[in-house]
Symmetry: C2
Amino acid sequence: MLRMKLIISYDGTRFSGYQIQPNGRTVQGAIEKVLQKMHKGEPIRVTASGRTDQGVHAVGQVLHFDTTLEIPVDGWKRALNTMLPEDIEVWHAEKVSDDFHARFDVKEKEYRYFIWNAVSRDIFKRNYQHHVDQKLNIEAMKIACNYLTGRHDFTSFCAANSNVKGDKIREIHHASIDREGEQLIFQVRGNGFLYNMVRIIAGTLIEIGMGKREPEEMKQIIASKDRANAGHTAPAQGLYLWKVYYKK
Amino acid sequence: MLRMKLIISYDGTRFSGYQIQPNGRTVQGAIEKVLQKMHKGEPIRVTASGRTDQGVHAVGQVLHFDTTLEIPVDGWKRALNTMLPEDIEVWHAEKVSDDFHARFDVKEKEYRYFIWNAVSRDIFKRNYQHHVDQKLNIEAMKIACNYLTGRHDFTSFCAANSNVKGDKIREIHHASIDREGEQLIFQVRGNGFLYNMVRIIAGTLIEIGMGKREPEEMKQIIASKDRANAGHTAPAQGLYLWKVYYKK
């Protein structure tokens, strides 16, 4: 038995999210289907660093699975990419030790949220960036980002309907926002994220950029531990699971 | 009776081309359906500057149609965008004189062809750029572009199965290729284009960039007036009808 680690990208547009479900096209379902074919009908379960919601993209999602197949590493990548649908791409495959775990061994995750900040929408970006037509004050958003870093109870940025086990304390190592022409990129890295956390933070930052809230409110929102005080949940299509970092 | 001119963008990915057909989702079909609704069931025929094939995009396609509805110009744009599917966008609407014709009055058209020239494909670009993994020699492609401008018989760059009426002489006013990082952009403007002409030119340029052909062959290919001497037809997803220029 051999444990394989994959790094994959996917375009979330046409998936009902990462996690397998009885109805709906999922990333996990598409990958397990291909692996089952490669294993002559034997079902293979894959484990990801975490799930992503419907419409959310991934540039560097990480998976592991166990196999008895003896295939060179390059062969895995080629075989999977040949059989997978065009909206999933395996860009790295490697053999790892038996005790590697794609979810439990995560040290840090990076997400990016893309905003297309222009008067006109761009239909070619409609599934890949969140369009905001009102001019956003990026300086105010930068100030607000500073309040996010550090170890906090992020209850205010957790979807009210989530059933997180354990506490809602997470550590954000980096949070920044930059403008490249009409594109705004919010980058956030941390040791873990609650359900909808990045999208609620993005939605709150957008409201700050619009002048509906002061940048300093970010601090009070965190302290209040109340979802009702944060902004709206920004739409899925702007969000990318960018990179997953592992222990050792 | 009032004649309206529209400038529209569309993402060609999920359309079976521009032109209406009995089966298949088309841009013309989607627009005429919305106009018919706005005109309480009366069918309205739209005329475009020309058709685009399945998978080909438009940034500045131009249409005209006649209407008896009295709607302010801004209202037209808003109403159409509200009712049209998310992969079509009207970004300009204006009243024009009765004798304006979106096809017959064309003076010049501009197309752009986008190549993603990188070792790895980028799944987020799969429907919007043509991926070429072999490094392309852009200097050779630039030299080849110079042979395209001017008045030529472009039979060599016309799909063999086309039934063009009249001659195949067209005038190219501008042809250039530029690199922006891993992206190559071919821009071409001319008084008219034959069926698949831009895609066959792009395919030939790519073969020149790969070193399979010398840049000077472009001149001989044109002179031969034989489709068999030109390169392959580059795929649809890299092509954009960029802008249409009119007389007066």
